[in-house]
Subunit: 227 residues, 2 copies
Amino acid sequence: MTKDISNKAIVLVSGGLDSATCLALAIAQGYEVYAISFDYGQRSSSELDAAKRVVSQLGAKEHRVIDLNIGQLGGSALTDSAMHIPEAESDGIPATYVPARNTVFLSFALAWAEVLDAEAIYIGVNALDYSGYPDCRPEYIAAFQNLVKLATKAGVEGKVIRVETPLIDLSKGEIIKTGMRLGVDYSITVSCYQADDRGKACGHCDSCRLRKQGFVDAGELDPGCYQ
Amino acid sequence: MTKDISNKAIVLVSGGLDSATCLALAIAQGYEVYAISFDYGQRSSSELDAAKRVVSQLGAKEHRVIDLNIGQLGGSALTDSAMHIPEAESDGIPATYVPARNTVFLSFALAWAEVLDAEAIYIGVNALDYSGYPDCRPEYIAAFQNLVKLATKAGVEGKVIRVETPLIDLSKGEIIKTGMRLGVDYSITVSCYQADDRGKACGHCDSCRLRKQGFVDAGELDPGCYQ
């Protein structure tokens, strides 16, 4: 590796199983990893506790938890306790969609990547077993990658900060198998949209259903805690 | 105007003369205006005081000031008091560049636009008399507009949130003339990168120099206060 190539990567870590797997993959690629999480007024604060556990167990050079006020802008069942979290699968984009969430998250990751001279940003989006969010699709990621080239000092100087989405084409079952191979301990992750303060999952929301089916498909036992 | 077309617009307001003019233009277009400003750890807190004065004088349905922690990520003379603010014009991108700033700002504006069902986001970027920031260029704005279509629930449903940059091709002198026509009071704006607590400008930084030359070109007196 030549001197002018950084081997740092930013990894977005939510505390769920996808981002834990993504972190393990970035580490396995040999990156010096900088983890970033967001306190955006999500209902479930146990998600952030899980993010801290995951980063601490898998290891990272640094972990920043950024306080955001995106929740105060409203518009999502994930941040607004007056809105109902749907349990049945919905047509179209569900009430748990947080407006422009990944764009806000990736923007912060991009800012930090520029400051650190990192060469990649890892985000655990997944286009198969997801909740129908527009900002998890490959075409969205491609548009953000295009923006990165034009938005940054690094881009103007010809350096590319790559947006890496290693889970994008995997099923939940494949993600779980990958993580198990890399030694991810899924018992410390929290996937639920409305986990209680101790991190116990509801077992019924869209995210819980996708997780449970994933473990079934992977032929593994789900070590998560349910209420 | 049909019922399903919203006539709300988000306007990014920094407290400088460009964004004040941009706000006046959005109001002149008949929009119900929602102003958004960011406390991102900028050295000069008088910038935010100016933003509040500008919004209060020109009028907006609502004004949100979002606390961001982008400054804590470092990397810019505008947020890091250990870095020197350059006074001479520099080649390339200057030290006052804040990594990914406009991307972070526009992401928040986009989130609020989705929540409010707004049809436009106004940002006062300018490609002529600017400081060489990559995220002020037309190609950057085009890339963000493309992202908007893919990032949002609105976009998936076929609604376009337009990113409006009415100042992009204007010189600083033309911006000032436009604002004067619309009754903008430039005495309450602060353009300086290092204004003091009372909003008095240094008169020497890149931003002050562009402002002073703009008033000369417009044939108007600069009503700003200098130290």
